[in-house]
């Protein structure tokens, strides 16, 4: 289970203040928010912009640019499936398709019961033990569709 806190504006503001003075602070701030809440809430963008003397458009531009900075809360579990070449050679597309149909979501979507968010990722660096997935921050190698479906099954039942 991912351990994201529910949205809390004061806490968000605290995180912005905590990181605003490091060099090149924007990514560290966004990562701190992502770690805490699992996504970047639009309600804090104004404060981030103000703290760094940037325009809101610049902050939104950066959030949109990077794949990691989700803009809505993820499910209770986050499942990243590596779909890069090494994993392709070991059947990750079949794995991904089965997960997609089991969860009834498209890439980036969250299952209707809010249990699992499914995301593609381009390389987890576990290419000698493909296919690889990351489940709530835990890396798994040599992942078969059956084992992945079992993980998902435990989370959704």
């Amino acid at each position: 289970m991912t351990t994201h806190a529910p949205w809390d504006y004061d806490r968000a503001l605290h995180l912005v203040r905590e990181h605003q003075h490091v060099t090149g602070a924007l990514l560290p701030i966004l990562h701190a928010l992502l770690d805490e809440f699992g996504y970047i809430d639009s309600r804090v963008i104004h404060d981030v912009a103000e703290a760094l003397n940037l325009s809101r458009a610049e902050v939104v531009g950066v959030i949109n640019f990077y794949h990691d900075f989700r803009q809505s809360p993820p499910g209770r579990h986050v499942l990243l499936v590596c779909r890069a070449e090494a994993c392709q050679s070991m059947g990750c597309e079949t794995l991904f398709d089965q997960l997609r149909s089991r969860l009834a979501v498209e890439n980036g979507g969250t299952s209707a019961d809010g249990a699992v968010t499914l995301e593609s990722v381009y390389c987890l660096g576990n290419c000698a033990l493909s296919p690889a997935i990351m489940w709530d921050g835990h890396l798994y190698g040599r992942m078969s569709p059956d084992r992945a479906l079992a993980l998902v099954g435990q989370a959704t039942s």
Binding site: V22, T23, G24, A25, L26, L27, P28, L30, H31, L52, E58, G61, V62, F65, Y66, H67, D68, F69, L80, A84, E85, A86, C87, Q88, S89, M90, V121, Y122, C123, L124, G125, N126, C127, A128, L129, S130, A132, M134, G137, H138, L139, Y140, G141, R142
Partner: protein, 520 residues
């Protein structure tokens, strides 16, 4: 004395249950009243054998693997703490054929030491390179690196010494060392393994670089897909700082140097050095036109050395043992060793540090044991998602920057991804374009628009929609991407696309290159 048992903490080992194995060993040892000292080492690189459990006996280590949690009780029954026979017993690790044939220079300590033990690091020749560097002038350090023939391991192969010399020659109140640990290429994991298995080696390499060029601050930019490496590097930097190896007086000298670690955010383009610098500055990872080179105007506009993890990690050895000791390995202009990473559909996947010059065939068959599925090999992608696909007939090409380039490929970061005969090369070509579209930073039109159009054109070819006209269009588009893109993402995407077309035309249902077909 308690027995020393080693279970790797490398992310690849964890991905196949190393934590469960370590917990089971603790549990079983407690239950049986054995006093063991369980050390979480880095990986030896023989990833197909992970989790590889080792036991130290009379100064040498006996290897068992791959061990699962369920095997642990049986290992105790077989008295593995004394090297007892068991079906998983492999023998002394250093005598395993795939380990013995390697030349471990950069990865000499990886898998041997506890990654976060500074005492272990120092005991295994750690910080000797720095000690020597502290006795030399900055120019002499740069000369040593230049003479070693070390070339950038990120992919471009640019001579490291020349880059350092440029930064050394610049006058500025602040210079930076930036370590590119945004190892985004599929099929590569050497940076990750080094950072997780021997983080002090990278810290030492960066410190030497800082002293050589006059930089007092370093940044390591690690991709967010590598949370384990990020945590290990952060912890190692804190230890180095506490012990006086980083800070105002590095190892008691007058030199100041410190390092901060930063996390990427899932953008492949940030592996391109100027995009990485933008990202470090807190901006979108959009590439900068060159010139100016980062060596002259890099991070925050200051002279900056941007080097890959493996380039910097090779430096302590070069300073410790001397340039000649490094340069004696390799072939042609590719000096030293190449951490070859065998990935994808391969029986014995892993990282093997070998001198340059081994052929693809030797790497894949002699070392890698052929495909994991046991089916015939059909294609090999060398050098990541921007690298060319090689057919079986080109497997005698040596792994060397120039030899691979002569076959219209690139060695890149040393990743080799093997595909068996079930691969559809038209699909792989399409993926290369699609990947470029997903990851394009949007700065230049050929890459931003061309990649999307390229995906569509390949779709039409696959659907047999005006195939010949579209094949011609694809060639044209690839030329445009090559000639007019601002960086290598757009510039090299044609490599996998065109190599798939050239070597596997049957998958596109087109006549082989050089034969004529009438357009009607």
């Amino acid at each position: 004395m308690s027995e020393r048992v080693f279970v790797p903490c490398d992310a690849a080992a964890l991905s196949v249950g190393a934590d469960d194995v370590a917990a089971a060993i603790h549990r079983e040892a407690d239950a049986r009243g054995f006093d063991i000292d369980l050390i979480r080492n880095g990986s030896r690189g023989l990833l197909y054998l992970e989790p590889l459990v080792e036991v130290e006996l009379l100064g040498q280590r006996m290897a068992y693997g791959p061990v699962t949690e369920a095997d642990v009780s049986g290992l105790f029954d077989a008295d593995f703490l004394n090297g007892g026979a068991h079906r998983l017993l492999l023998g002394p690790t250093e005598e395993l054929p795939l380990f013995a044939r390697q030349t471990r220079l950069t990865f000499a300590r990886c898998g041997i030491t506890d990654p976060l033990s500074l005492a272990d690091y120092i005991e295994h020749r750690g910080y000797r390179g720095l000690q020597r560097a502290l006795e030399l002038t900055p120019a002499a350090i740069v000369d040593e690196v230049a003479e070693s023939g070390l070339r950038g391991r990120g992919g471009a192969g640019f001579p490291t010494g020349i880059k350092w010399r440029t930064v050394l020659g610049e006058t500025a109140e602040q210079k930076y060392i930036v370590c590119n640990a945004d190892e985004g290429d599929s099929g590569t994991f050497a940076d990750r393994m080094l950072m997780e298995g021997d983080p002090f080696c990278l810290i030492e390499g960066m410190t030497i670089a800082g002293i050589a060029v006059g930089a007092t601050m370093g940044y390591i930019y690690i991709r967010s897909e590598y949370p384990h490496a990020f945590r290990t590097m952060k912890a190692a930097i804190a230890i180095a700082r506490e012990s006086g190896y980083l800070g105002a007086n590095v190892a008691g000298s007058a030199h100041a140097f410190d390092i901060d670690v930063r996390l990427g955010a899932g953008a492949y383009i940030c592996g391109e050095e100027t995009a990485l610098l933008e990202s470090l500055e807190g901006k979108k990872g959009v590439i900068r036109p060159r010139p100016p080179l980062p060596a002259i105007s890099g991070l925050f506009g200051k002279p900056t050395v941007v080097n890959n993890v493996l380039s910097l990690a090779a430096v302590p050895f070069i300073l410790d043992e001397g340039a000649a000791a490094y340069a004696q390995h390799g072939m042609g202009r590719s000096r030293g060793t190449n951490p070859v990473q065998l990935a994808g559909n391969i029986k014995r996947g892993g990282l093997y540090e070998l001198p340059f010059g081994l052929t693809l065939r030797e790497a894949i068959y002699d070392v890698g044991g052929g495909t994991a599925t046991g089916r015939p090999l059909r294609a090999v992608q060398v050098g990541g998602p921007l690298g060319a696909y090689f057919p079986e007939s080109l497997l005698d090409t040596p792994l060397d920057y120039e030899a691979i380039a002569a076959e219209k490929g690139l060695l890149g970061h040393g990743g080799i991804v093997v595909f068996d005969d079930t691969v559809d090369m038209a699909k792989q070509a399409r993926f290369a374009m699609e990947f470029c579209a997903i990851e394009s930073c949007g700065k230049c039109t050929p890459c931003r628009i061309g990649s999307t159009r390229g995906t569509e054109v390949i779709d039409k070819i696959i659907a047999n929609n005006q195939r010949l006209a579209n094949l011609e269009l694809l060639d044209d588009l690839c030329n445009l991407l090559t000639d007019a893109s601002l960086c290598q993402l757009g510039g090299l995407t044609p490599y996998p696309v065109l190599s798939a077309l050239r070597h596997f035309p049957e998958d596109f249902d087109r006549p082989a290159v050089g034969t004529q077909e009438k357009t009607s």
